[in-house]
């Protein structure tokens, strides 16, 4: 790992965290965005729409050259000049030479992320041509000498006072910090630019093969002026923007504004094909088709879905990490989840090496992506690549390879830890303070101790007096249940027995491998997958139950993916996936058993926290709520119930504890505001994080796993 790079990155995080105003702005935006987005999609089937986009984009990727040829043929026939730029430099050189050949002094630009990607402005300035950004946000950024912190709203990180100061410098007057006024200043200041400019440069949201034309999706009207007034129009467009037909283009136009800003449609969609009239003559239209890593991305089986991106920016809007640190930290040129991936391919993996670890893996982006990109999986695979290339750190590597793969050694070390922790735990179940350099870990949350007696060591003593059980299930505890919250395993047995289900605990089970996988060590993850498949299928259980959604996803999805090409294991992995189900889902869907908890004594106000991997991975969120209500509790929805709690495993311990802390604080605030007596959830990781946060802030709200909540009622 590159120490210097890491240090700079950490410094950027610290700086962002020290700007609460920025966080507040991004949080507010995120909230408003979700509301308007929801409204915009009323009457539309988002899942169906995004499947269409994904399918169409994949077709283009597979037949890229075919559609490119079609586009170029049609564009050329309509009088456009096409240039294929393999790299950013080639694109810049072409445009700069063109401008020089035209004797151009001034180029007006409308917003183009592709030109940010190639650093076109720098190239133009070097060639002696002034580049004037006309999109309001881009102009602000240009005046400030910064780069965009959001793909759709480049200046989202700036405040009106800062804008007023920048504009005052431009006009030489003291401009008041009123938004309407500042917008008017921009209108007046930039107007002459369009009239004076020799060249207009735009990007394109879509390139249509059928027509050879492009479409620009904009709000301000600057792209229309940029493409109308100057005699020369240069379009810089990535080859990923290609679509086959006008219908395909119309579908993108339909979904893009709704998903980007919650608008039904932008003020303008402009369809331009060929050299249209311009003054006395026709326009000199040049279309620069940019590769710059896109073909490399198309050739990567693990990452290529990212080429479907239509650059709506939604993956940033909903991202808790983005909301915490902003796009200047969580992104390079492109920002947010997609930014991590594109940076790796367009700017190089080393530029993305820190960013791939910054994703907390909550899948909020995956749920809103209009192109159905599994951003989290792609980021994970990049993390693996970085892990392979740079190593994952000697300490971690030793733990994963030498310890975790050896179950007996791993488990005896954990048992030893339970004894070693005594001086700090003072015999309690939580650690409130850690000494020395570990202290920062317990500054903002208490940590649970390793249990004195692991679940595996007490399971055989649990009496399960069932004569004729309906099902025999194997319980996959995962590390948290086994060693930290063994009582949760006991509770599961109580609850299952009530439903006439017999629970076994296969002792050869090991960690699900996710910590290794998330750290970039896939080899260890695969080894553990095999151990677990053996252990869990051994007695041929009817189902395998989990109480941790991260484990659930490992068993249901990751193992199958890891072993798909291994004939000795592929089928067994699938078999395990087919019978794995999380406990709440099992009770409601397989057993139809919610009624068993009716009429139990006691009623509290309970709010529910959706664990990321349960809701957006396993698709379970109604079930636990149904159980809480069936059990007679009053369910109160907190705001942002399905927003990540900031745990993320090693994310909160080693890689990004400061970001984790901020995300947790957001969650605690939402819980407090709900006024509930108890917050329920279905993930031991979330439990560790949320319970730790509540305890540290001395709040009375109890945090419970839904299974604990049910078991406590049964015992009353």
């Amino acid at each position: 790992m590159d120490k210097n790079r890491s240090q700079k990155y950490k410094a950027r995080i610290d700086q962002a965290l020290a700007t609460p105003k920025l966080q507040q702005a991004l949080h507010q935006f995120g909230d408003a965005y979700l509301l308007s987005r929801e409204k915009a999609f009323i009457g539309h089937d988002f899942e169906a729409l995004r499947s269409q986009i994904a399918e169409m984009k994949d077709d283009v990727r597979e037949q890229l050259d075919h559609y490119l040829d079609e586009f170029c043929r049609n564009a050329t026939a309509a009088g456009a000049t096409i240039y294929h730029a393999a790299t950013a430099e080639e694109a810049n050189d072409y445009i700069a030479s063109l401008a020089v050949a035209k004797g151009a002094k001034l180029a007006v630009k409308s917003k183009s992320m592709a030109s940010e990607e190639t650093h076109l402005n720098v190239a133009l300035e070097k060639a002696g041509i002034q580049a004037l950004e006309t999109d309001l946000g881009e102009w602000i950024i240009q005046l400030a000498g910064q780069r965009p912190s959001h793909m759709v709203m480049p200046a989202i990180h700036m405040f009106k006072e800062e804008v007023a100061e920048l504009f005052s410098k431009e006009t030489g007057r003291q401009e008041p910090a009123e938004i309407q006024h500042l917008v008017e200043v921009a209108r007046q200041q930039l107007r002459q630019g369009y009239l004076d400019a020799d060249i207009g440069i735009t990007g394109a949201n879509i390139a249509v093969a059928e027509t050879g034309g492009i479409a620009l999706v904009t709000n301000e009207g600057n792209a229309r002026l940029t493409s109308t007034l100057p005699k020369t129009h240069v379009v810089l467009v990535g080859i990923d923007k290609l679509v086959p037909t006008l219908e395909d283009a119309a579908r993108i136009v339909q979904i893009l504004p709704k998903n980007a800003t919650g608008q039904l449609l932008t003020s303008y969609v402009t369809w331009i094909r060929g050299a249209v009239p311009c003054g006395e003559t026709s326009k000199d239209l040049h279309i620069v088709l940019l590769d710059n890593g896109r073909r490399k991305l198309a050739a990567s089986p693990d990452c290529r879905d990212a080429l479907r991106c239509i650059k709506c920016g939604a993956c940033a809007n909903v991202c808790p990490v983005y909301q915490t640190v902003g796009g200047h930290v969580f992104g390079h040129i492109y920002i947010g989840a997609i930014g991590i991936i594109l940076t790796a391919f367009y700017n190089g993996l080393d530029q993305a090496a820190e960013l791939v670890r910054a994703c907390i893996g909550c899948r909020a982006c995956v749920a809103v992506c209009p192109s159905k990109i599994d951003l989290e999986s792609i980021i994970l695979s990049l993390r693996e690549q970085v892990g392979d290339e740079e190593g994952i750190g000697l300490g971690k590597s030793l733990v994963f390879r030498k310890v975790m793969r050896n179950r007996k050694l791993f488990h005896s070390l954990i048992r030893a830890a339970s004894i070693l922790q005594k001086p700090v735990s003072r015999g309690e179940r939580t650690i409130r303070h850690l000494p020395l350099f570990f202290s920062s870990l317990t500054e903002w949350r208490t940590l649970p101790t390793v249990a004195e007696k692991a679940l595996r060591d007490q399971f055989d003593d649990l009496a399960q007096p069932l004569e004729n059980p309906r099902y025999k299930v194997a319980f996959y505890g995962g590390c948290a249940n086994d060693f930290i919250y063994p009582e949760l395993g006991v509770d599961l047995v109580t609850v299952m027995n009530k439903l006439n289900v017999l629970v076994r605990y296969p002792k050869e089970q090991n960690c699900c491998g996710v910590p290794a996988l998330y750290s970039g060590d896939k080899e260890t993850a695969v080894a553990m997958a095999k151990q677990n498949i053996d252990a869990l299928l051994k007695d041929d259980p009817d189902f395998v139950l989990t109480t941790c959604p991260t484990c659930t996803m490992a068993l249901q999805r990751d193992f199958v993916e890891h072993l798909a090409d291994d004939p000795a294991w592929a089928e067994r992995a699938k078999r395990l996936a087919a019978i794995t189900v999380d406990a709440a889902g099992f009770i409601v869907n397989q057993l139809q058993g919610a009624d068993a908890f009716k009429e139990l004594p006691g009623s509290e106000k309970v709010t529910y926290h959706d664990s990321c991997h349960l809701k957006r991975g396993a698709g379970v969120w109604r079930e636990p709520r149904a159980l809480i209500e069936a059990a007679g509790d009053e369910l109160i929805e907190m705001a942002h119930a399905d927003r990540c709690c900031g745990f993320g495993g090693s994310y909160s311990f080693t890689s990004h504890p400061d970001i984790s802390k901020n995300i947790l604080n957001d969650k605690i605030k939402d819980i407090e505001k709900s006024n509930a007596d108890c917050v329920a959830m279905d993930c031991p990781g979330c439990l560790m994080q949320i319970r730790g946060g509540l305890e540290k802030q001395n709040l009375p709200t109890r945090a419970l796993h839904t299974i604990e909540l049910l078991a406590q009622k049964l015992r009353r």
């Binding site: 709000n219 600057n222 039904l264």
Partner: protein, 184 residues
Amino acid sequence: MDFTIPFSTAAEAVGAEVIRCKNREQAIAYLLDQLKGSVLCPDFASGKRIGLVEKLLQAGVKPICSDFRMQAASAAAGITGANFGIANTGTIVLESSDEATRLASTLPEQHFILLDPAKIVSDGIAAVPHLRDLHQRDARNYIAYITGPSRTADIERVLTIGVHGPKRLHILLVSGISSDFMEN
């Protein structure tokens, strides 16, 4: 199907001013009432049909009918027709390869549009066949979808109207002025 109501509702929701005119006279009267200063009047079929330029002249408004590039920057308004409308988003589709049409609809602070309500389709997907027809008729195209006035939210995400394009968009719905989606 009559899409007048959903079209008007959607257009008004994004800040367009929709005027449902009973007849041509009412449309002209509205224009005369609103117009101040010079107005860009590119040549368009529905405008000709109602004798727009003559009526403006008679009323003492000076329409600009040529030399658009020189005059556009100082004009107070532009008037154009519309090829058709899209109901669910309140969008005007304006074929504007003709540069005068483009200038009239981009530079001035106000843009007046005459649309025959018989030419409204339900949504963006239903618009595609007409969009394709336009592409098939002309070798080169500049086709604008216009939905409300120009807007930005680039400063503190506060919606602000009228940044680079028109600050006011008036859509005059006038029956019987055009039935052809290929003209404006």
